[in-house]
Assembly symmetry: C2
Homo-oligomer: 225 residues x 2
DNA sequence: GCTAAAGCGGAGGACTACCTCGATATAAAT
DNA sequence: ATTTATATCGAGGTAGTCCTCCGCTTTAGC
């Protein structure tokens, strides 16, 4: 689900496809795959030696590819982010703004659910690497999408992009309760349906307390420091 | 918020108030308080030596009171559970079944939010101590309450107690994003409002996929083993 | 095939955590 | 005030982790 032949993408932090010896590339991919699995089980402070063991690679080899834990986690993070970006092209191309919002919630939740290690990875990146703003690229378009959906009278008017993102985060943590091998006992799409119904303008019955958090505040809260 | 003079309750796993020397009781309470704080920060596999350090107590003293990590976590768990039980008497005494459901969601979420360590503690108890069924006492009354709310036409008919409990779990994890000292940036009550609106029978617009999980399945999923 | 660069592996020193043991200190009962 | 059961403390053996150094192996270009 996450390791199927994307060795062309894995590597540099961006566009340059780093040239590596064949065996090195194999070990690099293997390390990344096992790291994802171990981090999913033990969190982002998992033992690097265990990751090397599972990848059947010496500990020094791990350190050759990733000089420190932060770089390893960053590689996992960027690999995942690239996948999200690829699969999210259709969010803003939805037939209606409301459907765009719905797709946003669904796609990002799906993405989080697919990898139980992601919450831990995201928090780690925020603390380790100062000013790392992953969602920056979508913040503005999302706000615009939400404004449109509200103008259309479909999305409730008392929420903003952060409120929606928090709901996504909540849905995403359900991945915690799915065992690695097992076929997912909790069907998060049921809760997704309930949440979506709660977001519709026509369904507003409860007045929400306080005021919505802004993007800065949310970033600060999630990427704790 | 959690350590204010309940030394009469702390101790045994039930009704017997264990007799201890005065200094021993003081250290016991202090250990529990600091353990809760450290577990909130680092999870249930936090360093026992750090807990002892913060409680300004020798490591051997910690082991005298709690022979192993499991007993320490269990003590935290039971202390919290007692608090929940105390504050939840009014759930089933609500004016209407729907309001009872709403109170259930609110009270339990409140309880989870108050202690960021709880999710970790609950999972740990489930794995370490085989067949430990905390919610057992409320399972049946909750199911009855839900049935009534559905019969009243207030709660959507396609959910069961587990669906509601999952939503509570989702709200509860928002505590993760509140820093210990800080005054809580994320206002979970906004998401609570959205979720409650999504639960109202009159607001059903989305058909929920699959079938709800039963209590056994939920217990299995949350208390992983 | 040969060679040089690139990669690999594991030992090892520093650190931290777990848990036990025996010596010392202290609360409380007479 | 004395005694004794209760508690406390930190050293220390074991084990796991982090990260580096350096000798050996393998790939890839000629």
């Amino acid at each position: 689900m996450s390791s199927t032949g994307d060795s062309a993408v894995s590597g540099g932090s961006g566009a340059e496809p780093i040239r590596r010896r064949k065996d090195a590339q194999r070990n690099y991919d293997r390390l990344l795959t096992e790291a994802r699995a171990v981090v999913a089980e033990r969190g982002s402070d998992a033992s690097l030696e265990e990751i090397a063991r599972r990848a059947e690679v010496g500990i020094a080899t791990l350190y050759r590819h990733f000089p420190n834990r932060t770089e390893l986690i960053r590689a996992l993070y960027e690999q995942s982010l690239a996948q999200l970006m690829a699969s999210s092209s259709d969010i803003f191309a939805a037939p209606s703004a409301w459907q765009g919002v719905a797709r946003y919630v669904e796609r990002v939740s799906e993405w989080l659910i697919a990898d139980p290690g992601l919450p831990s990875i995201i928090v780690y990146m925020g603390t380790a690497d100062a000013d790392y703003r992953p969602g920056a690229a979508i913040e503005a378009p999302l706000a615009a999408l939400i404004a449109r959906a509200q103008a259309d009278g479909e999305l409730r008017k008392d929420v903003n992009g952060v409120d929606v993102s928090i709901l996504v985060t909540m849905l995403g943590v359900l991945s915690t309760y799915n065992r690695p091998g097992q076929p997912a006992t909790i069907d998060w799409r049921r809760q997704l349906g309930i949440v979506l119904d709660g977001l519709r303008a026509e369904n507003v019955r409860t007045e929400l307390p306080g005021t919505p958090l802004d993007a800065d505040g949310f970033h600060h809260a999630v990427h704790k420091n």
